[in-house]
């Protein structure tokens, strides 16, 4: 009987804890006219890549701004938290090489979380990471070949993935030592899930536009915080 009471109490406590964790949501906006993106003209110099784009060439994706002024590819995270990674049990993130471009271009993972890199192109790539805090690697990836899997042990912002065969190809992977982060989507929206109640510093980082912070308090019903970036 005592055991049942104890287990039930612990279970209830656990449920209460989960119920107390809430989401941080928000929208990232861009102020002003969206900066002009440029055609990736070097694609034309490579016949096998040019064949994938018989019409218009793709453009750079430095500032992904929607028609309504919402900004994608902003890494939003809780600042000052470490040692809370659940990466080992997290679902793998995915990075694909398609159309001689990395997709998505901005990714965020936890330390220890798997990042699976695919080659969906009809030609070879080399997958070359040039981190500042984690070890560098450079691997062959044949067309339709086996996926490559990466894990990173140390937190790092905008760790660069590149292809030296196709020097216009880049992706940036941010690595966190905790699960409290999100990448804003095409509609500028982000959701950081299951954040325990408390006061935090929320950071929004864009690779080209810099970093902003806001002090927030997460209550039982979560917190809402937006950011507005502009190009100076």
């Amino acid at each position: 009987m005592k055991k049942i009471v104890l287990v039930s109490t612990l279970a209830a406590f656990g449920v209460l804890q989960m119920a107390a964790a809430a989401d941080i949501t928000g929208v990232i906006n861009f102020k002003g006219a969206a900066p002009t993106e440029n055609e990736i003209t070097p694609i034309k110099d490579d016949p096998s890549c040019a064949a994938l784009y018989p019409g218009q060439l793709p453009k750079t994706r430095f500032y992904v701004v929607s028609a309504n002024g919402e900004l994608a590819d902003v890494i939003v995270s809780l600042k000052g938290i470490s040692g809370k990674s659940t990466g080992a049990s997290a679902a793998p993130a995915t990075l694909d090489q398609k159309g001689a471009l990395y997709t998505p271009q901005i990714v965020a993972v936890q330390t220890g979380q798997k990042l699976v890199v695919k080659n969906s192109d009809p030609f070879v790539h080399n997958v070359h990471t040039t981190p500042t805090a984690n070890p560098e690697s450079n691997q062959v990836q044949m067309s339709g070949g086996a996926d490559l899997t990466y894990t990173f042990d140390k937190p790092e912002m905008f760790l660069k993935f590149k292809c030296d065969v196709h020097p216009w190809m880049f992706a940036w992977v941010s690595v966190f030592d905790h699960p409290y982060f999100a990448v804003s989507g095409a509609d500028g929206k982000f959701t950081i899930k299951n954040v325990p109640p408390g006061k935090y510093t929320l950071e929004a980082a864009h690779r080209k536009l810099g970093t902003q912070t806001a002090e927030i308090e997460v209550k039982d019903d979560g917190a809402v915080q937006g950011f507005t970036f502009e190009k100076k």
């Binding site: 003209t41 490579d46 096998s48 890549c49 070879v124 080399n126 691997q139 062959v140 065969v165 196709h166």
Partner: protein
């Protein structure tokens, strides 16, 4: 074994020297196209034996890096044959050992290139570039030493070349080698152009290198720039490169004028010195064009090759002048 002019040996040595010069150009293209790491494995190529890597996979940066490795293998083979040929057929012990030196140096060069890729050490590209230039001078020097001019000159009268002029040319040649080291260091920063205007530098005679200035330079890089952010060190290095270029140019002008004065207009070495001057004028023009074209790969690579040529001309000039001086001394 003999000490006579052997035309087949000479022309083979010339072939090796030309192949080496082209290899430097191809290596230049690899760096100019940022393709040095496009083939992650070595000595295989994407898992294939490099000599049977399928043509349809020579795409993008792989084309430059793989071609570079193949030509390097060919130069290795030519150098090996040359070393054996010299050992067996040239009576001069010092030429025989020069052949062995070339053989060992080309092996070292191959290993340096391979380790740069395998160990992902960008900085190894710098000694790889330096050894390339040294090897080029060595292969051309060997061709000179087995040439008819050199072999047959022992029996001919020669006008001496003043020691001061020879020393001056040697000094300028060494300065060119230092310049090539500076250039190799610049290229292997993989940061694009640290200064994107010429003859001014970020609009000034000497650019600011404060953190604010560097941040501003990075924020206003030309559209399409691929590479790491530039640093104060790189800006300073580029300025040193420009200053040394001017010093070399003045040094060569002095050498050409001295040669004309001391040797006479008709002297072959005087003409060679003016050719050297022409080469440096071209080189400075290519340097400016490299900046104005935002480091276009073909222009930049031409700049590399003309730089190598300038080093070579200085070295050969000094060797020929020393030969003449030595023979003139022995005729007294």
């Amino acid at each position: 074994m003999n000490n006579k002019y052997q035309p087949a040996l000479f022309w083979f040595a010339v072939l090796n020297a030309i192949a080496t010069f082209l290899l430097i150009g191809l290596g230049g293209l690899v760096t100019s196209h940022e393709a040095g790491m496009s083939v992650p494995d070595w000595p295989t190529t994407y898992g294939y034996n490099m000599f049977v890597f399928p043509l349809d996979k020579w795409v993008g940066g792989i084309f430059y890096e793989h071609s570079h490795r193949l030509l390097a293998s060919a130069v290795g083979l030519l150098t090996t044959i040359l070393a054996v040929w010299l050992w067996l057929k040239d009576a001069r012990k010092w030429i025989q050992w020069l052949g062995i030196t070339a053989f060992l140096l080309v092996i070292v060069q191959g290993i340096l290139g391979g380790l740069r890729v395998r160990w992902m050490l960008d900085w190894l590209g710098i000694p790889h570039g330096a050894v390339a230039q040294t090897f080029l001078v060595l292969t051309c020097a060997i061709a000179l030493f087995v040439s008819r001019w050199w072999v047959n000159s022992a029996n001919q009268n020669h006008d001496s070349v003043p020691r001061g002029l020879r020393s001056h040319v040697l000094f300028v040649t060494i300065l060119i080698f230092v310049q090539l080291l500076i250039a190799a260091t610049m290229r292997h920063q993989h940061a694009g152009l640290a200064i994107n205007d010429f003859p001014l530098a970020h609009g000034k005679l000497w650019p600011a290198t404060t953190p604010e200035a560097i941040a501003d330079y990075n924020a206003h890089r030309p559209v399409g720039t691929i590479g790491n952010p530039i640093t104060a060190f790189q800006v300073t290095l580029q300025m040193v490169h420009r200053l040394v270029a001017y010093a070399i140019f003045l040094g060569i002008v002095a050498a050409a004028m001295l040669a004309r004065k001391k040797l006479g207009d008709g002297d072959a070495l005087a003409k060679f010195a003016w050719f050297w001057f022409g080469l440096l004028t071209l080189q400075i023009g290519l340097g400016a064009w490299t900046v104005w074209s935002n480091k276009a790969a073909d222009i930049t690579t031409l700049h590399v090759m003309v730089g190598a040529s300038a080093l070579l001309v200085g070295a050969l000039w000094w060797l020929m002048a020393s030969r003449r001086a030595s023979l003139a001394e022995s005729m007294k």
